[in-house]
């Protein structure tokens, strides 16, 4: 592969959806053509993004496919992009989920179709941008840029209380990211650069004046922005609202990718820039993560609304990711990254399944269903498969990540591992119980007797997710061998930190 192509690869992957969105603006309002075009664009982007893992140098540490050009001279902002093993897979996750979102919205969005797909593609560009940006300013920009299309998707195409949910989502995350902006500005004022790698180096070499006094506040500034996004307990209240009201595609991207922006941010920026502060604050963060795991699971258990149940299960699962990240062990971080990917696929699929049911019955109430396995056998099979993947059945994708996280947490402190492990049990409880109530037993409502099974288009959206869930469970090394070196780099300062402490 030529070098020039490698250099512009990330730019292409990031901006193809945006270019597609701009072209869509000039499309005539023929809904079918618009859908096909959006599908083609997102598939094209997916195929291109496969270039990244195929040509990724797995033995190499540091960032690859880097591009670094001056954008604005004052302030000193660079167009700096690059991926390592972690962010590369998150990019691929985004490009993988977007075509599925297009497929799943094919019929359910029938009003203002053009605007919907424009927003979806703009959102995709912003999401990819978050994972590839290595300039803090660029990062902040795309980070905020995800808000607007997402809030509009919820607010225009959502269900009953959509406006409330959209505004809550926007304000919650916007206010939190203000703190991150303040921290970024402080770093810029002291170092004169927004470049992640340079700032990391400057902090590491102690070239930032007054750093020791401000470091805790900077750490917290970044952390709060990410914690709201994840969401870490007690910042989670926007999530159930946003999920319940969002259209299916919005939920898929929200759970699948948007939440990972927060955990990715913790991994990249909190650990990357402030290793000492991460270390000293880890204990309460891990406690919050554990509360999130258990609390999310317990609340999920009693939800009468299927979508809200899945939303709370996300809080629980993302707790595992935070737990893994702040365990500072190889296994914990590997596992955290793996849970991010696995959760993206399986929860994305769960939301698609819930959306399919909503299209038929226009409700998410679990009590409205029961005995669906009879009229919809294929649907029931898919649902079971994804539920099992989500629960963490060995040989499916959920297992690997959670196992690694728990073993990392256990190594850090046994009690973390033990409490975390109960989360796995809880998740089996609420998901399988939900499955039982929806699919088994007698059909209580006559409407459910004649529900049509999956259409070809719906199967096309679900098959890829199911296959990936299986492959991720059987052959995790395909993913982990790229994640490993990135995690090692992230952990390097902690090893030094530990030896420093021992040296004292």
């Amino acid at each position: 592969m030529s070098n020039a192509l490698d250099n512009s690869m990330l730019t292409l992957i990031t901006f193809i959806p945006l270019a597609g969105a701009v072209l869509l603006m000039f499309f005539p309002r023929r809904d079918r053509d618009i859908r096909v075009f959006a599908l083609v664009v997102s598939l094209l982007d997916f195929v291109l993004s496969l270039h990244l893992p195929v040509h990724f140098q797995r033995a190499q540490t540091g960032f690859q496919y880097e591009i670094n050009q001056l954008w604005i001279s004052n302030p000193n902002i660079h167009y700096h992009m690059g991926v390592d093993g972690v962010s590369m897979w998150l990019v691929v996750l985004t490009t993988f989920l977007t075509p599925l979102c297009v497929l799943i919205s094919w019929k359910s969005i029938h009003e203002r179709v053009k605007e919907f797909f424009i927003l979806l593609l703009v959102l995709q560009t912003a999401l990819i941008g978050v994972f590839v940006a290595l300039d803090l300013f660029l990062f902040y920009f795309v980070w905020e840029a995800t808000l607007i299309p997402m809030a509009l998707l919820i607010g225009i195409y959502g269900h009953g209380r959509r406006v409330y949910a959209a505004v809550k989502f926007f304000l919650y995350t916007m206010v939190a990211s203000m703190f991150m902006l303040a921290a970024i500005l402080w770093l810029y004022a002291k170092t004169g650069t927004f470049d992640f790698v340079s700032i990391q180096g400057a902090i590491h070499n102690g070239q930032v004046e007054n750093f020791s006094g401000a470091a805790l506040w900077l750490f917290l500034g970044f952390f709060i922005a990410f914690a709201v996004k994840v969401p870490v307990f007690p910042f989670h209240t926007w999530l159930p609202d946003a999920h319940v009201e969002a259209p299916t595609a919005g939920s898929v991207l929200l759970a699948g990718v948007l939440l990972k922006m927060g955990t990715y941010g913790m991994l990249r920026f909190n650990l990357g820039l402030f290793p000492e502060q991460s270390r000293s604050n880890a204990s309460w963060i891990m406690v919050l993560a554990l509360i999130g795991i258990v609390y999310g699971a317990l609340v999920a258990m009693v939800q009468p609304n299927m979508k809200k149940l899945i939303a709370y299960s996300s809080i629980s699962h993302l707790g595992f990711v935070v737990l893994g990240i702040f365990s500072f062990t190889q296994a914990g971080l590997d596992g955290a990254t793996y849970v991010m990917l696995a959760h993206g696929v399986s929860t994305g699929a769960l939301f698609m399944l819930a959306g399919i049911l909503y299209e038929r019955r226009h409700t998410y109430e679990i009590a409205e269903f029961g005995g669906l396995a009879t009229p919809m056998p294929v649907y029931a099979t898919f649902f079971l498969f994804i539920v099992l993947a989500s629960v963490g059945l060995p040989l499916l994708n959920g297992f690997i990540g959670e196992f690694l996280v728990l073993s990392g947490a256990f190594r850090d402190r046994a009690v973390y591992g033990i409490v975390g492990a109960t989360g796995v049990i809880w998740s089996a409880c609420y998901l399988l119980w939900m499955y039982q109530r929806v699919f088994f037993g007698k059909i209580k409502h006559d409407v459910n007797l004649s529900l049509p099974d999956l259409s070809g288009r719906e199967r096309a959206a679900l098959w890829p997710a199911a296959v990936v869930a299986l492959v991720m469970g059987v052959a995790p090394l395909l993913w982990l061998n790229a994640i490993d070196p990135a995690v090692q780099t992230a952990l390097a300062p902690f090893a030094q930190l530990a030896s420093k402490m021992v040296g004292r």
Partner: protein, 488 residues
């Protein structure tokens, strides 16, 4: 002015006239419009005089570019052309152009005889331009009065609406009160330093002990200017006046005179090195940001909402004044430019939607605009996002430069207040966006097609907003030159 005994020195030279060329151009066009107005019937006066005024403001723009080659003092050291004055001349002329383009449709819809309206806009622009190049406090006062009197009358131009007359009278009474304060401050300053020339005052204040009188003088001048820029606690007039005045005039009032008053404030604060600057500004900035944003939260009238928002923006701007000169001056200038771009644009949209008699100015009237007029709604959204300070709009870098300048001066407390305030502010701007996109369309609000003039005005403001948001470097570098020129 000690050369009066020498006749040769008492006669202005050609170079002197170049120093006030844009003002001359504006005055000539203003007078032509005024003279022609009675000779025409109402219908043709709209078109022809509007076009003439447009040519006038564009000519002033060109005159400014021409003038920028001839930097230096003129008229016995009373005016000075430097990159600072050129910057503000350009800004005022550009805003005037966009406002005239906006008024074109508005005046026809409102059925207002427009001749003297355009003349007044041009005279106002004259005063504002002169404010930025005058370096002598008495001349600054005269320029301030020229611009103020024009805007007092403009505020009352919807003659049939009582609320407009109320706005005009209120603005006039409070405004003259405030200019009196300014004049009093000038007098005290003269007493303290023996001069009204800003450079001489600056040298005097730097050289020796600062007399108590100078502090009082600065405070009084600040009261007068604080009124003009709508900074708290001198802001109470703003919502009422903005609500009553014609929408394009509000777009004009909230940007051009504000920019000119801030220009004077920059000269007084930085070039004359006013004593007691930081703490005075600190308090007023914090107060303006907070009162403006909190007040805006509960507004249902779009014009009042933007009035409170303009108070808040005056607060953000003042943050730059508390910073050090070499960061603060460029930051403030950049902020003024981008605020002008986005606010004039927002008011262009508002004046289009307001309709005959400005009947449609509440939030409810914007329901479903995103569905009925996607393009118009998208443009207003971009202006509002810029007012929030979302990246790739000018508003983001404006706030960015201001806050980073303040951080470099170690004003951490003020920055925190500012950042929290911009978080609060996002709520009420978003409310408008939410109403436009997430409510059912209201079919009873008439939405005529966008005429050519308004389209041009919107395109210019939008292009400026985005340009400042994507490539802010050139404008900032130009503004930074001023700081270098003023460095002592």
């Amino acid at each position: 002015m000690n050369g009066t005994n020498d006749l040769a020195q008492a006669i202005p030279r050609a170079a002197d006239y170049i120093r006030i060329l844009p003002e001359i151009v504006l005055a000539i066009f203003g007078m032509i419009v005024m003279v022609l107005d009675p000779l025409m019937d109402e219908r043709s006066s709209q078109k022809i005089l509007g076009a003439l005024a447009l040519v006038g403001s564009l000519a002033a723009l060109i005159a400014t570019l021409f003038q920028s080659q001839y930097a230096g003092l003129g008229f016995w050291n009373m005016v000075r052309v430097d990159s600072f004055s050129v910057f503000f001349h350009f800004l005022v002329a550009a805003v005037t152009t966009v406002v005239i383009l906006t008024s074109y449709e508005y005046m026809a819809v409102q059925g207002i005889r427009a001749g003297e309206y355009y003349a007044l806009v041009l005279f106002g622009a004259l005063g504002m331009s002169l404010m930025s190049s005058a370096v002598e406090l008495v001349l600054i006062f005269i320029a301030l009065e020229i611009s103020s009197i024009a805007t007092y009358i403009l505020a009352g131009f919807r003659r049939r609406a009582a609320i407009s007359s109320e706005s005009s009278v209120k603005y006039f009474l409070l405004g003259s009160f405030a200019t009196a304060f300014f004049l009093y401050g000038v007098a005290l300053m003269f007493g303290a330093t023996g001069s009204t020339s800003i450079t001489v005052i600056g040298d005097a204040l730097r050289s020796g002990q600062i007399p108590m009188l100078a502090y009082v003088g600065v405070a009084l001048m600040f009261v007068g200017l604080g009124f003009k820029v709508a900074a708290a606690p001198f802001h109470v007039w703003t919502p009422d006046v903005y609500e009553g005045a014609p929408a394009p005039v509000v777009g004009f009032m909230s940007t051009a005179p504000k920019a000119a008053a801030f220009a004077v404030l920059l000269r007084v604060m930085f070039e004359a090195d006013a004593p007691g600057r930081v703490w005075l500004i600190w308090v007023v900035a914090a107060l303006s940001m907070t009162l403006g944003n909190v007040g805006a939260l509960v507004q249902d009238n779009v014009k009042r909402l933007l009035a409170y928002s303009s108070i808040a923006h005056a607060g953000y701007l003042l943050v730059a004044f508390a910073a050090l000169p070499n960061n603060g001056i460029p930051a403030a200038m950049f902020y003024l430019a981008s605020y002008a771009a986005m606010n004039v644009g927002a008011f262009a949209v508002i004046s289009h939607i307001s309709g005959q008699g400005e009947r449609y100015v509440t939030l409810e009237d914007y329901e479903g605009l995103g569905r009925r007029r996607p393009l118009l709604a998208a443009m207003l959204t971009i202006f509002l996002l810029s007012l929030i300070g979302i990246p790739i709009t000018g508003g983001f870098f404006a706030k960015f430069y201001v806050f980073s300048a303040a951080l470099q001066a170690n004003l951490v407390g003020l920055v925190i207040i500012g950042v929290l305030n911009s978080a609060v502010a996002s709520y009420y701007y978003l409310r408008l966006i939410v109403v436009m996109y997430m409510r059912e369309a209201r079919e009873d609000v008439p939405l005529p097609r966008i005429p050519l003039g308004l389209g041009a005005a919107l395109a210019i403001s939008l292009a400026a907003t985005i340009y400042l948001g994507v490539l802010p470097g050139r404008v900032l570098d130009y503004a930074a030159r001023t700081a270098a020129e003023w460095a002592h």
